[in-house]
């Protein structure tokens, strides 16, 4: 498995993705969050069409209060992953609406630890 990891500060995420992303070449899988206590590690996963087990992962960390930049300007389908982050981690993702996965009455940000 080939995994190219690109670690960038939060403000550079969009620029880092823009540098390599081409929809004919790369398939966007999802963005994943892992709660690290007070902050969240975020990873944007991509795989290359036509190649075996070739991935590119853009990694950053964000505090609970940071505004997460949207990548929907580059990848329109990413909105659903971003809205999920907003719901399940309670993050402030640029342009994301809350309530796609959770009812207003249900516990908020369930994937935060502690």
């Amino acid at each position: 498995m080939v995994v190219e990891e690109i670690r960038v500060p939060l403000r550079d995420v969009r620029r880092a993705i823009k540098e390599f992303y081409n929809p004919s070449e790369w398939h966007f899988i999802t963005v994943n969050g892992v709660d690290l206590g007070g902050k969240v590690e975020l990873k944007w996963f991509f795989t290359k069409y036509g190649e075996k087990e070739h991935f590119k992962v853009v990694t950053t960390e964000a505090s609970y209060d940071d505004e997460i930049p949207t990548i929907t300007y580059l990848i329109p389908s990413a909105w659903i992953s971003e809205w999920e982050l907003a719901d399940l981690f309670g993050l402030n993702v640029e342009g994301a609406k809350k309530g796609l996965f959770l009812d207003p009455e249900s516990p908020q940000a369930p994937l935060r630890r502690g």
Binding site: I29, T30, F45, Y49, D103
Partner: protein
């Protein structure tokens, strides 16, 4: 410009096997805007997997994400754990996993095709399709012990071996299924009414599929050569005659035809597995605790299924992430509706074979 009318579709609708809600804004029956809500069956499975269940139990929990593709969910999870922990799975177990995985694909595809026939008003074909799907359900029950929640794969192998008695019955049923699947493929491909109703309706373009990162049969129906079975080595597909099915057109008709052709290829693979099933163990013992992170891709019947796990040498994992194919295909569905006639919505939605139980988790 006509008067704008709001038309809700779901959360409960006769065409929907599961709850999803689209709210359409229409003008003269043409859709001009749409909102979507997918969260009616959120059960907090990812949260439960990282708080309540030990890592060796999680495979059985994720099997409950979805009734139809529970085999793929377990397979995704156990493959991620095995890769993280460096577990070498016996060849016989890999072949048995492949067998149930392809049977799962067949019955899921038949379900999708049947539902599409139903929303086209072709109830007889719906019933015929589901009747033949029952053969696969019986085969899966013989192999795994269950009709729905299979719990077949486990970390290190599979839970049940294939006996010679079961193999004999499977071969008999597979022969009948092959004949019926060929007939179904001919009907879905050549029926005059279905051609008229589906060809060119709900069509995704290749450019749109790439931009919206479409996965599974809807991607292959538009000419996008993507199938995780060819892109990720999780089972020995090449050894048993796997072929990628790719068509052009991208409409409801092609999506169903891709499924029909994949069923035939899956049946061929099942024959090859039964003919060439290696001897040996079906499971190896697994020791230790998962440490680090791993992610895998699996080709579930509806498309790419992604599993991410992270552990820190504890019995309970720090994170289990599941990205299901319907989750990936919701954005293109939303895009596709703009400009479409409202009357084409039910068939278009069903032709994507959406699974909301998976999407909401």
């Amino acid at each position: 410009m006509g008067k704008r009318i709001t038309v809700p579709f779901g959360s409960q609708h006769v065409a929907l096997p599961e709850p999803v809600r689209f709210v359409f804004q229409t003008e003269n029956e043409k859709i001009v805007d749409v909102e979507v809500d997918v969260g009616y069956v959120h059960r907090g499975i990812e949260k439960a997997c990282a708080t309540k269940f030990k890592y060796m139990q999680v495979g059985y929990v994720v099997a409950r994400v979805c009734g139809l593709c529970s085999i793929s969910h377990t397979l995704g999870y156990v493959t991620a754990v095995e890769r993280l922990m460096g577990v070498e799975v016996p060849k016989r177990a890999l072949y048995l996993r492949l067998l149930v995985s392809e049977l799962d694909r067949i019955h899921s595809h038949l379900l999708a095709m049947g539902h599409t026939a139903e929303v086209a008003g072709y109830e007889n074909l719906f019933m015929q399709t589901f009747r033949h799907r029952e053969l696969v359900m019986e085969m899966l029950e013989l192999l795994t012990g269950n009709r729905v929640q299979f719990d077949y794969a486990c970390i290190g192998g599979v839970n049940r071996d294939l006996t010679s008695d079961v193999e004999k019955v499977l071969r008999g049923k597979l022969k009948v299924l092959e004949e019926k699947a060929q007939w179904l493929k001919d009907v879905y491909e050549n029926d005059f009414s279905l051609n008229l109703r589906w060809k060119g309706i709900g069509a995704v373009t290749e450019e749109m599929a790439k931009e919206m990162n479409v996965v599974g049969p809807p991607a292959r129906a538009v000419g996008l050569k993507t199938d995780v079975r060819a892109e990720f080595d999780y089972l020995p597909f090449k050894e048993v005659g796997y072929r990628m099915v790719v068509l052009k057109g991208g409409s409801i008709y092609e999506r169903n035809l891709v499924r029909a052709l994949e069923i035939l290829n899956s049946i061929e693979m099942c024959w090859n597995i039964l003919d060439g099933l290696p001897e040996g163990d079906i499971k190896v013992p697994v020791k230790g605790l998962p440490e680090g992170e791993m992610f895998v891709r699996i080709e579930a019947p509806r498309g790419e299924l992604f599993y991410y796990i992270r552990g820190s040498k504890k019995l309970i994992l720090d994170r289990v992430r599941i990205r299901v194919p319907t989750f990936a295909n919701i954005p293109v569905m939303k895009e596709l509706f703009i400009g479409m006639d409202y009357a084409d919505v039910p068939a278009t939605v069903i032709s994507f074979d959406p699974c909301l139980s998976c999407t909401a988790r």
